[in-house]
């Protein structure tokens, strides 16, 4: 018989005789301070994310309200010129908004069809081996910093486009749109593929057993069944395109313009914020406040779009 066990047996016999509370199996609880301290610290960590949201909204709101003391909301929403950095000053957000919309539209035209087709290929046609090669490549594409895309847009895509359309300027919406489109393509492809892969085999087999081709199964069974997932991937990608900054700053130019002509140079909301930040701005000046007014517009826009994406996902929650 070993030491530990002997000691143990001894413990027990003493305990049975004297019912001392401290040495028994059942002991009084000590105040659990540790649990409280840990929980409090972790709670504070969790509060940081809440505070971040509150901080973003508060900061944007305070400076934007101050901005609207100098500029009327009506002028902000209806003026078609944006020239806060030189006289005569104009503060028409439409000029920047149209830049963002133009780029986003162009990017969607590239990314949504290509992304959806890639997703269909990966989920319906490719075998496992191909998928294992292609998916990491798409992840690499998604992980490339936007500054690198911006460089590529300016030094490769733009010169290439100017061979086709020589009167186009060095800075143009088209080049930026295409590259932003490629930047968000992996997002569309992987989220849509996730939605398609989760369509149960039985649904597909039903169609195959009726003699349908892969294309017909994809078009008539898989895509409709995964529709909400696909649409929400589209919406999220669009939101990402609106918030994209470096590609458009580098390749699309710095001329705010109410236009939907992709061959022209434009400026997006994000690019404007970068432009102002690069200059020497006085804290509290009207230029300083424009950052917040534009940032607020951008925040509201992307927030609404993200809400739509979430709503779509819930609304059309697939039930198989």
């Amino acid at each position: 018989m070993n030491e530990a066990v002997l000691k143990n047996a001894r413990n027990r016999s003493t305990q049975n005789q004297s019912q001392k509370k401290t040495s028994g199996i059942v002991q009084k609880k000590r105040m659990n301070r540790e649990d409280f301290v840990v929980k409090s610290i972790l709670f504070l960590c969790a509060m940081v994310s809440i505070l971040t949201t509150i901080g973003i909204v508060a900061v944007l709101l305070v400076e934007t309200l101050s901005f609207f003391k100098d500029v009327s909301l009506l002028a902000f929403l209806t003026d078609t010129k944006w020239t806060p950095l030189f006289k005569p000053e104009h503060f028409g957000i439409l000029a920047l908004l149209s830049g963002s919309v133009l780029i986003t539209l162009g990017a969607s035209l590239v990314a949504l069809p290509l992304g959806l087709m890639t997703a269909i290929y990966l989920s319906e046609y490719a075998d496992d081996r191909v998928r294992r090669v292609i998916k990491p490549i798409l992840e690499v594409l998604a992980g490339i910093p936007t500054i690198v895309y911006g460089y590529f847009a300016l030094t490769f895509v733009t010169p290439l486009l100017r061979v086709i359309s020589p009167d186009m300027g060095v800075f143009n919406a088209l080049s930026a749109s295409i590259v932003v489109g490629i930047m968000i393509l992996p997002m569309v492809a992987s989220l849509s593929e996730d939605a398609m892969v989760s369509v149960p085999k039985s649904l597909r087999n039903g169609a195959y057993s009726l003699g349908a081709t892969r294309l017909e199964v994809a078009r008539k069974v898989v895509v409709p069944a995964a529709f909400s997932g696909i649409i929400s991937s589209f919406v999220l990608a669009i939101s990402r395109a609106i918030g994209e900054t470096m590609i458009v700053t580098i390749a699309a130019g710095a001329t705010p313009k109410l236009t939907l002509n992709p061959l022209e140079s434009v400026q997006t909301m994000t690019a404007y914020i970068v432009q102002v930040s690069l200059g020497d701005i006085q804290h509290g000046s009207i230029e300083y406040k424009t950052i917040f007014a534009v940032g607020m517009t951008l925040f509201i826009l992307t927030f609404l779009i993200n809400l739509i994406a979430q709503w779509l996902k819930r609304r059309f929650k697939e039930e198989y």
Partner: protein
């Protein structure tokens, strides 16, 4: 001499009445087997003895369980200390993703033992008590996952013994093991009975008959019959016990 007494214990999972009016006594330094068809409440009952059910949301318990004559469900019971004194071995071997040594030393370390020599001693004694020492004494620093299933289960027993419990709860400890490992564990349980009070849930009636002193037969959350193993298996007083023992259901 009884060490555990159950007095009218009822347990609810939300609205589901999982244990009904459990009453009885468990003898010190004996092996008590809990048998019954799956879902009968025998594992749930086992987990009431070291309050592991506290972890599950929606569990509500009424009645009293006395261990060493004190109600373990009293409001100011130190649950951690209770569990230190009532060890548990689970159905699936569940070593931590640590070395063999660290697995056995885990319990002592959390209860404050720092001294290397003392820990070495505890690890060796516990592994010896669990009949695993000879097999692992040269690979103490290796990951516990390198061991076979049967060895892992004996490691889990050693881990439980290392904190000096007085009662050992075992929840179908051999159901995931091959016959040879099962035989080893059963032999070990037989050895442990000399020092420990053991309560074992088993789905295997031969096992209950082979190793236990007393047997409780559970059915739909109730104890139908609780008596010496001898009596339960040879002259059960309830028809349902007899039917179950004879393999007519379950």
């Amino acid at each position: 001499m009884s060490i555990i007494q159950m007095k009218n214990v009822d347990l609810y999972y939300d609205k589901h009445h999982a244990l009904k009016n459990i009453t009885g006594e468990i003898n010190e330094r004996s092996i008590t087997a809990l048998i019954g068809p799956s879902g009968c409440g025998k594992s749930t009952f086992l987990r009431t003895l070291n309050r592991m059910n506290d972890m599950i949301q929606g569990v509500h318990i009424e009645g009293e369980i006395l261990v060493a004559e004190q109600n373990i469900y009293h409001a100011d019971v130190n649950v951690e200390n209770l569990r230190k004194n009532i060890g548990m071995v689970f159905q699936q071997p569940n070593p931590f993703p640590k070395s063999i040594y660290d697995n056995v030393a885990f319990g002592r370390r959390i209860h404050g033992m720092r001294d290397r020599k003392e820990l070495d001693e505890v690890v060796e004694q516990s592994l010896k008590a669990a009949a695993l020492w000879e097999e692992v004494k040269d690979i103490l620093k290796k990951p516990a996952y390198g061991l076979s299933g049967g060895q892992q289960q004996r490691l889990c027993i050693a881990r439980a013994l290392a904190v000096n419990p007085q009662i050992l709860l075992m929840d179908e400890p051999t159901s995931a093991l091959d016959p040879i490992s099962t035989a080893k564990i059963e032999e070990l349980i037989g050895e442990l009975r000399k020092q420990y009070t053991i309560v074992i849930v088993t789905h295997n009636m031969q096992q209950a008959a082979r190793i236990s002193d007393d047997t409780a037969f559970f059915l739909q959350g109730e104890i139908i019959e609780f008596d010496t193993t001898e009596k339960i298996f040879h002259t059960p007083s309830d028809q349902r016990t007899e039917d179950y023992i004879a393999g007519r259901f379950g």
